[in-house]
Point group: C2
Chain length 173, copies 2
């Protein structure tokens, strides 16, 4: 991230990253599948955390309740800590299309995992996928608002607002 922020993602080579980390280019590729993945290694843990909350949600929870609970949990436990890091990382990603592509497929994978968790609790399939996709949409919008804000409101607040906005939008007629 140092290098990506200093000179931009495009103009930093893998050789440079490896040199600064004190190892070989070949070794870099043994730890990360490609040049982008170095910014997304944490997404596996995020996914586990989200899925765990859905799995552990009380039976009485509706699909979106379970999804929203997972998002809020991750917001507080993962993002609200390392707030500054999350912002910087997002700035790097926003500045480069290749990184945005990677981010989007990570979110899509997340959505698929959440849909799977919902199906495990007996939610039928079009509904499960839609709830998961809607949840990710909410997260995207909330996260964007959170990083763009001047103040210091919590990510979870943005999530709650986005959920009710989505409800309003889909309900209207």
């Amino acid at each position: 991230m140092e290098l990506y922020r200093e000179r931009g993602y495009d103009s930093t080579t893998v050789a440079e990253i490896a040199r600064r980390a004190g190892l070989t280019e070949r070794t870099f590729f043994r730890h990360f599948a490609d040049k982008r993945e170095v910014l997304f290694s944490g997404s596996a843990e995020l996914q586990e955390a989200l899925v765990r909350v859905v799995d552990d949600a009380p039976e009485s929870s509706s699909p979106i309740e379970a999804i929203v609970a997972a998002l809020i949990g991750a917001a507080d436990a993962i993002f609200e800590e390392r707030r500054e890091f999350a912002r910087q990382r997002q700035a790097v990603i926003t500045a480069n299309v290749d990184l945005q592509e990677r981010e989007l497929i990570k979110l899509a994978t997340l959505a698929a995992a959440l849909a799977g968790a919902l199906r495990r609790r007996g939610v039928a399939d079009p509904a499960a996928s839609l709830a998961a996709e809607a949840g990710i949409a909410v997260f995207k919008v909330a996260f964007e608002g959170w990083t763009a804000q001047a103040g210091d409101r919590n990510l979870s607040q943005f999530i709650h607002e986005s959920v009710s906005d989505l409800r309003a939008v889909t309900t209207a007629r």
Copy 2:
């Protein structure tokens, strides 16, 4: 697409594509930004068509009504024609992660354009983005169902069903 279907996306080189098209590798890159883009050149027209419908929707339409009208219009005018082509193309994309990444960013761009169109009609910003993202989520789920089905139901039917499923899911409690 011929080559991508014959030997898979990964194992076909740009040199091969260029040779079969009767031109040079360098010329290929003058027409397409990269090896993936060759499957997504039509997305610009799709976006224009969708945005046009939203722009032309009656003032009385709610945000989702406008979005859904656009999706239905595209479904009938673009996808339901060349049904077989759409299926084959999707099979190629589904078989390769790099292509899925590209597809996702095209959909995200689409969502941004739709959100812009909504804002142009006076929809405030969190709501506009959410309506657009929700619309794209509906489209993704509907399209997946459409390509996966054994029968020959229309894409627009899947879209209508997904919309009401989404409504049900977001309304519940």
